[in-house]
């Protein structure tokens, strides 16, 4: 097995210069993700600290607002998309061709899109019950944390669009390969954050 140069799937020796060339970029992106982790961490702490009677301000709480089934579905979508994203990386590593990679990316995007639709419909139903972010400090914390994750997913979908464009225009150049590696890291990282969200926000709220 070849040495791991950086987090995430490594291209390996069969990719020649692209393998070591990706090292700095992937490592740098990993540093960025760690910085992003702090961002989420602060919002997690803010959310957790606002779950007091004062933070709820007499408004609705987790039991009235959260829908376990929908959250379970979202989790399933995201986990599946993490796997398909891994398959995209794997196709690249196995030299399976741009078409196969694009296909896996599309599946990833569909699953991610499904996640987002469900999340947005949950948000909409909360708003309909008068439980928007302006209702209470706790709801502000909720929407900021979960919403930021949703924004990241949205950005990821745009990124998939750019990757598909790049694959179409430039094929599998070394630069495109590195970008695919970065995207995979990003997408897996979002699933990690989601573990925190469904555990700390939803499950803990409903337990």
């Amino acid at each position: 097995m070849t040495a791991n140069l950086h987090p995430g799937l490594n291209l390996g020796e069969s990719h020649g210069a692209a393998h070591p060339a990706s090292e700095n970029r992937v490592f740098g992106f990993w540093v960025f993700l760690m910085s992003d982790l702090i961002t989420f961490g602060i919002l997690f702490a803010t959310y957790a600290a606002s779950g007091t009677p004062m933070g709820l301000a007499g408004g609705p709480g987790p039991a009235q607002l959260f829908d376990l089934t929908s959250v379970a579905l979202q989790t399933a979508f995201l986990l599946a998309s993490s796997l398909t994203c891994g398959m995209a990386s794997l196709s690249m590593k196995a030299h399976a061709g741009a078409g196969r990679i694009a296909l896996w990316l599309l599946v990833t995007a569909l699953l991610g899109g499904g996640f987002l639709m469900l999340e947005l419909s949950d948000f909409a139903s909360m708003l309909a019950q008068g439980a928007g972010p302006a209702r209470s400090g706790w709801l502000s914390g909720f929407f900021a944390l979960v919403g930021l994750h949703g924004l990241h997913i949205t950005a990821g979908l745009l990124w998939i669009g750019v990757l598909l464009g790049l694959l179409a225009v430039q094929g599998l150049s070394d630069r495109v390969k590195t970008r695919l590696l970065l995207f995979a890291l990003y997408w897996h990282f979002l699933d990690l954050v989601w573990i925190g969200i469904f555990s700390i926000v939803f499950l803990r709220g409903l337990a």
Binding site: S35, I42, A49
Partner: protein, 692 residues
């Protein structure tokens, strides 16, 4: 209301206010705004008259060369320093007359300390530190550039956007009045409905993101781009401090970005993070803000320590004393700095046990700094000391910074802090560490590395005048504030009723005049040096008999830094070569060099961010959206670029390097006695007095 121009109309400029309500207060504001406008017009005129637009565009704005980017950071820092010092002087003048009143309105005074603080920390100290790291680190570790040259440009663009917005706020509308920390609920929309806090938010957020990106860039560069043989324990100390500061930037900038954006959500979208009602918790703002704020001061001061390390070793011609202890102390500070943030709000109401935990952590962090001061003094001990400009600053630093540090330890005791917090004692303390600690180091660092970037030394006599004026000016301005604080004068007071404060206020006011002279002398020093660049030129590149790799190349350093990537065999790599043999030998062969191509990405993002920030401040939604979409599009389009580097043929490098080597071999070096004479062309001869 939000039409095409949002909340903008003709009444928002200070000129309108000066016409409507003439008086000292409005004239000062209008004068400042006039200066900004005049300055901008003069700059545009200058560029046009001397036909500098082309070179500015080609050589600077689109360049991805780390040295150029570093210089542009420093230029931002110096320009903003001029504004910040001017504001400081205006505040001192006002307070000197503020017994039962004072010339400025309370609100105007509040705007002054808010812009002054924001500018000094985020747009003076930070750009100078980041600029210097940019210039120096790749040279010290034997790299051709930063790991991500284009992202480096983007960082600069974001910082510049924040600075631009701060300048715009002088002319259009008003800045925030809640201090540089902008605590809600006062800065929330209930108490500050105007544009002020929005200006603050949209200048801080881009600068914060830009600094975070710089941190990533520096960290990856130092981790991954070192020359062969440059092991961690051979890295020059400035690089070590840069590495620690970079890692801190990565983790300390997210809090301020988050807290500012949360404040923005409160203000724009009615969220309740920090409001008085419906479950808001304003104490969380202080908490998050200082999770950034405290590490930030160490982000600023660690590289300053790095400068002192280089300066003390070079100008005493000795190896740095206690290198491992300096490294360990740096790392210890970088970690402990994340555990002390609560000392900025000891009085917020948490229990004594929480306070004492953070108090103890704060006292502990003074220990590694103490270690460092001893190391520097031991470095100087029996060295071949030359009292050059950086050494004058170092002397000032030694004495003054220790006083500032000790008052910090005093403040670390919560019981004492309860007495003196929010007084001028605190103002004295933080200026006492920031000015001798950070600002002196940056001025010294600029003096030290200037020749490497521009090819000529700075004028020593003017430099020394400036240094002494800074030192004396600092003492006269800020030491009295300790006493005033202990007498009970609160900080941020636009007026006071106790005549006992007047005498020391007058002293401090006089000190501010000396500081203005110091600023002027600094600028004169740069000007005079540019005029005399012929006699001050040091083309051979080693004016101070330097010890680290950056001195092993011509001055100005070529765009590609190293003709061949050096193989490092020792700490103080260049010194080892000089003492061990001939450092100026031609390599066996040269190779093609890959350099980043110029790109306008950073500039595009700068313009789009400025526009978006301005538009958000004034609720001009179409422009805000265009700006944000513009940023996104710029990044996406950039992803499709394929020609991002260009190749410099080996032959060209060989010619350039060969010519320099030849010149070096025919030149005569100078001993340290002639360091400050026109004979110093940047080639050092062995100095008999030197003990290693």
């Amino acid at each position: 209301m939000s039409g095409l121009f949002g909340h903008l109309d003709w009444t928002v400029t200070p000129f309108a206010a000066a016409i409507a309500d003439p008086g000292t207060n409005t004239f000062v504001a209008a004068g400042a705004a006039g200066l900004v406008v005049l300055g901008a017009v003069a700059l545009l005129g200058f560029l046009t008259w001397f036909r500098l637009w082309g070179p500015l565009w080609r050589d600077w704005l689109t360049s991805a060369d780390h040295k150029k980017i570093g210089v542009m950071y420093c230029v931002i820092g110096i320009v903003m320093l001029a504004r910040g010092v001017a504001e400081g002087a205006v505040m001192r003048a006002h307070q000197a007359m503020a017994l039962n009143g004072g010339p400025l309105s309370a609100e105007h005074f509040a705007e002054l300390f808010s812009t002054h603080g924001t500018i000094m920390i985020l747009f003076v100290a930070a750009p100078l530190v980041i600029g210097l790291i940019n210039i120096v680190v790749p040279l010290q570790i034997g790299a051709r550039d930063m790991a991500f040259p284009v992202m480096n440009q983007v960082s600069l663009g974001l910082t510049a956007a924040g600075a631009a917005l701060l300048m715009i706020s002088l002319v259009i509308g008003r800045f925030e009045t809640g201090g540089w920390s902008a605590y809600p609920p006062y800065t929330g929309r209930v108490f500050s409905p105007g544009e002020g806090p929005d200006y603050w938010i949209w200048s801080v957020v881009p600068a914060g993101i830009g600094s975070m990106l710089s941190g990533i860039n520096f960290a990856v560069t130092i981790y991954k781009c070192r020359a062969p043989g440059m092991t961690y324990m051979r890295m020059p100390l400035f690089t070590w401090t840069a590495l620690c500061a970079a890692i801190m930037l990565v983790y300390a900038m997210p809090p301020v970005t988050v807290s500012s954006l949360m404040l923005a959500l409160d203000r724009y979208a009615g969220f309740h993070f920090f409001t008085n009602d419906l479950g808001g918790n304003m104490m969380n703002y202080a908490n998050i803000f200082w999770m950034f704020g405290h590490p930030e001061v160490y982000i600023l001061v660690l590289p300053a320590y790095g400068v002192w390390s280089e300066v003390s070793a070079t100008f005493s011609a000795k190896t740095l004393y206690g290198y491992p202890s300096l490294v360990i102390a740096t790392m210890a500070i970088a970690v402990i700095a994340f555990t002390v943030w609560l000392h900025h709000f000891f009085t917020m109401g948490q229990s004594a046990s929480v306070n004492i935990a953070f108090g103890i952590a704060t006292m502990i962090i003074a220990v590694p700094t103490g270690v460092k001061v001893y190391d520097w003094m031991a470095t100087l001990w029996r060295g071949r000391i030359r009292m050059t400009v950086p050494m004058v600053y170092l002397t000032g630093f030694f004495i003054l910074f220790v006083i500032g540090g000790l008052t910090g330890v005093i403040l670390a005791n919560p019981t004492i802090d309860y007495q003196v917090h929010n007084t001028l004692f605190l103002v004295a303390h933080f200026h006492n560490v920031l000015i001798p600690g950070v600002l002196f180091a940056m001025l010294a660092g600029i003096h030290y590395w200037f020749p490497k970037v521009f090819g000529f030394r700075l004028h020593e006599t003017w430099g020394k005048r400036a240094a002494w004026l800074w030192i004396v000016g600092f003492c006269v301005t800020f030491l009295p504030l300790y006493a005033l604080g202990l007498m009970g004068m609160p900080r941020r007071s636009s007026s006071f009723a106790d005549p006992a404060f007047v005498p020391l206020q007058l002293v401090a006011g006089a000190g501010a005049v000396i500081i203005l002279l110091a600023l002027a002398a600094t600028l004169v020093c740069y000007g005079v040096s540019i005029r005399q660049r012929g006699t001050l030129a040091v083309p051979f590149g080693d004016p101070w008999d330097g010890r680290t790799l950056e001195w092993a190349m011509p001055a100005p350093a070529p765009e590609w830094n190293f003709a061949v990537i050096p193989a490092v065999a020792a700490r103080d790599a260049f010194w080892a070569e000089k003492t061990g043999g001939d450092p100026y030998v031609a390599p066996e062969r040269y190779e093609d060099i890959e350099l980043p191509r110029p790109t306008a990405l950073g500039l595009v993002i700068c313009v789009a961010t400025t526009a978006a920030g301005f538009a958000l401040t004034w609720h001009i939604w179409w422009l805000a959206l265009s700006g944000l979409v513009g940023i996104g599009l710029a990044v996406m389009v950039r992803a499709f670029a394929t020609q991002t580097t260009r190749v410099l043929p080996a032959a060209e490098v060989a010619v350039h390097h060969g010519r320099w080597l030849e010149a070096v071999h025919t030149a005569r070096g100078i001993t340290r006695d002639a360091e400050d004479s026109p004979a110093n062309r940047g080639l050092a001869a062995p100095d008999t007095e030197v003990t290693p």
